[in-house]
């Protein structure tokens, strides 16, 4: 069996009296299209924060390509290939999409500490910015300050920025959150066009999106992993229907 792209071993996170993450273990294989679902308050965002190093676990380990990264900061994990997007946009309001992407690319290829060369004078970086802008349909807005972009475009920039770090594992925290119906297709198209070799963990409320996108689904309830399986299994699972899908069924 190949080395998993990302592995969580017995993760526990205690916030005072609240047990937000309760002994969670799971793996994501290279190139996987996995989804993490669960009702509100199930601890999905805490789990993402544990995996990316924003929050330190009370117990347990995070392994990236079999390397123990539990003690590393989030920016160190990014450089090892673990990237994420945010449920609430975390962008640079006064920078343009082109500048933001250029920044992410320079950081990745090691020219981020270069203090003398004017940003954007390396043809390879310019070419890569252009490629990302085109892939996410942001060419038209490339030179606008990010804060002036329509919300749907900002969501796309969220994903583009994460992809600019060339991750091996990409965690998408509700990429379609708050996106109006008519712009959802753009998000879905962007998601299905993500590079096949990148392992993706999608955290999402939108069941249509989850079942269109994922080939494997993990269900988190009250900080614990309830079950894992293929979409058909999850859809048929009585316990999942009870705690989660039941909400929709009424």
């Amino acid at each position: 069996m190949s080395v998993p792209a990302l592995e969580a071993r017995g993760l526990v996170k205690q916030f005072g009296a609240l047990l937000a993450t309760d002994d969670v273990s799971f793996t994501i294989q290279a190139g996987a299209r996995q989804a993490l679902i669960g009702p509100n308050g199930a601890g999905k965002t805490t789990l993402i924060n544990l995996l990316t190093g924003v929050v330190e676990p009370t117990e347990g380990q995070v392994l990236l390509q079999d390397h123990n990264v539990t003690a590393l900061s989030s920016s160190q994990r990014v450089r090892l290939g673990l990237s994420r997007t945010f449920q609430i946009n975390q962008l640079f309001p006064h920078l343009t999409p082109a500048e933001s992407l250029g920044l992410a690319i320079s950081e990745r290829n090691g020219s981020g500490a270069d203090f003398w060369r004017v940003a954007g004078t390396r043809p390879a970086i310019v070419a890569e910015i252009e490629e990302l802008l085109t892939r996410f349909g942001l060419e038209g807005e490339m030179d606008q300050p990010t804060r002036k972009l329509p919300y749907g475009k900002q969501r796309l920039l969220e994903i583009a920025l994460a992809l600019a770090t060339r991750p091996r594992v990409l965690l998408l925290d509700e990429p379609a959150a708050g996106v109006p119906e008519e712009e959802r297709q753009d998000i879905l198209a962007a998601l299905s066009a993500l590079p096949a070799d990148v392992a993706i963990l999608l955290i999402e409320h939108d069941m249509d999106l989850v079942f269109t996108f994922a080939t494997r689904i993990s269900v988190l309830v009250a900080g614990r992993l309830l079950t894992e399986g293929e979409p058909e299994e999850i859809a048929a699972d009585e316990r999942v229907r009870a705690v989660y899908l039941g909400e929709d069924a009424g």
Partner: protein
């Protein structure tokens, strides 16, 4: 390698990323005017020199506050340290101004590097207090170590000629202003370049959204330490220039009001675009000169009033108003607008 023919998108992208790289004509006018003022107004050379030095000091604050979003009320620590370092070096017989300038900047940079880690934790209030505390400590150290610093009496010393050619000081005030101008211009050009580099872009990212900056793999702490060190060197250079061109240093260089004044200057001129500190220094010092000639006691009242107006109304709205007022004063343009 890419095809030889760049697409329209590539060209637009490159033009966008380079848009600030070329020196534009208002910038060139700015620097020519500053140099012209020294040549045309030799009787005001001392005042101009003070503005240039204060402008460099405010530029040092802009590097951390405007570019990176790190507040400080302790820039006087580096200003005073740079001044005393240059003064002590000169009093020991090494009186070359350029050497003293580099020495003052270097010693201040060392203190910046040593104290930068204190800025990495806590919020803005913590940073204000930590930076203020460091400058208080340094002022007291200078006070207590009179064998080196002259204590409360300060230190008088004489300076050599700039590049061995141009005497500065009381008899060479125009030379002093030209010397400060050269130092300011070179350090400004370096800062301008730095602001447009990937490093400068990363500083903007830290200012705009530190969480996301970290999520892109930017080592935010290291970048903050680096720019704080550069900022300290700039403040130290400003202090060294003041010491060398006045040939006296005293304990008030470490005073809290220096740190506060430099922040006022930066806010008056506008933070984040590098010219704000110099413009603010000019406004601040010229206003002080003009108002204190009329009403010696009350000039701070008017500076205070200006500050309140600027912060409450906002610089952009004042700018728009000025543009509209200017176009209504030009009758042709006004008629054109009305039609």
């Amino acid at each position: 390698m890419r095809a030889a023919q760049p697409t329209a998108t590539t060209r637009r992208l490159e033009a966008h990323l380079h848009r600030r790289a070329r020196w534009r004509w208002p910038e060139i006018v700015f620097w020519v005017a500053a140099l012209g003022a020294i040549v045309v107004l030799p009787s005001r050379a001392a005042l101009i020199n003070e503005i240039l030095i204060a402008g460099l000091f405010a530029l040092s604050l802009d590097l951390i506050l405007g570019l990176t979003g790190i507040v400080s009320l302790g820039q006087a620590a580096f200003f005073g340290l740079g001044a005393y370092s240059a003064a002590i070096l000169a009093s020991k017989g090494f009186a070359d101004p350029t050497l003293g300038l580099l020495f003052g900047a270097a010693i201040a940079a060392v203190l910046g590097l040593a104290t930068a880690p204190l800025l990495l934790r806590g919020g803005d209030l913590t940073r204000l207090m930590v930076t203020l505390g460091v400058s208080l400590m340094l002022g007291e150290l200078a006070n207590r170590n009179g064998w080196l610093t002259g204590g409360a009496d300060g230190l008088n010393f004489s300076m050599g000629k700039v590049l061995g050619l141009f005497p500065i000081g009381f008899t060479g005030q125009r030379n002093a202003a030209l010397y400060s101008f050269a130092a300011l211009f070179i350090l400004f050009a370096v800062a301008r370049r730095l602001a447009q580099s990937p490093f400068g872009l990363a500083l903007a990212a830290i200012r705009e959204n530190r969480l996301r900056a970290g999520a892109l793999g930017i080592a935010t702490s290291r970048r903050i330490v680096a720019i704080y060190t550069v900022s300290a060197a700039y403040a130290g250079a400003a202090g060294a220039l003041l010491a060398e061109t006045t040939q006296i240093v005293s304990l008030d260089l470490f005073d809290f009001h220096r740190s506060a004044d430099v922040m006022l200057m930066l806010i008056i001129g506008g933070a984040g675009y590098l010219y704000g500190g110099i413009i603010g220094a000019a406004v601040f010092i010229v206003l002080r000169d003009v108002i204190s000639a009329a009403t010696p006691e009350y000039w701070e009242f008017w500076i205070g009033a200006l500050l309140v107006v600027l912060v409450l109304i906002g610089r952009e709205r004042i700018h728009d108003f000025a543009v509209r007022a200017a176009s209504s004063l030009a009758p042709d343009a006004a008629r054109g607008d009305a039609a």
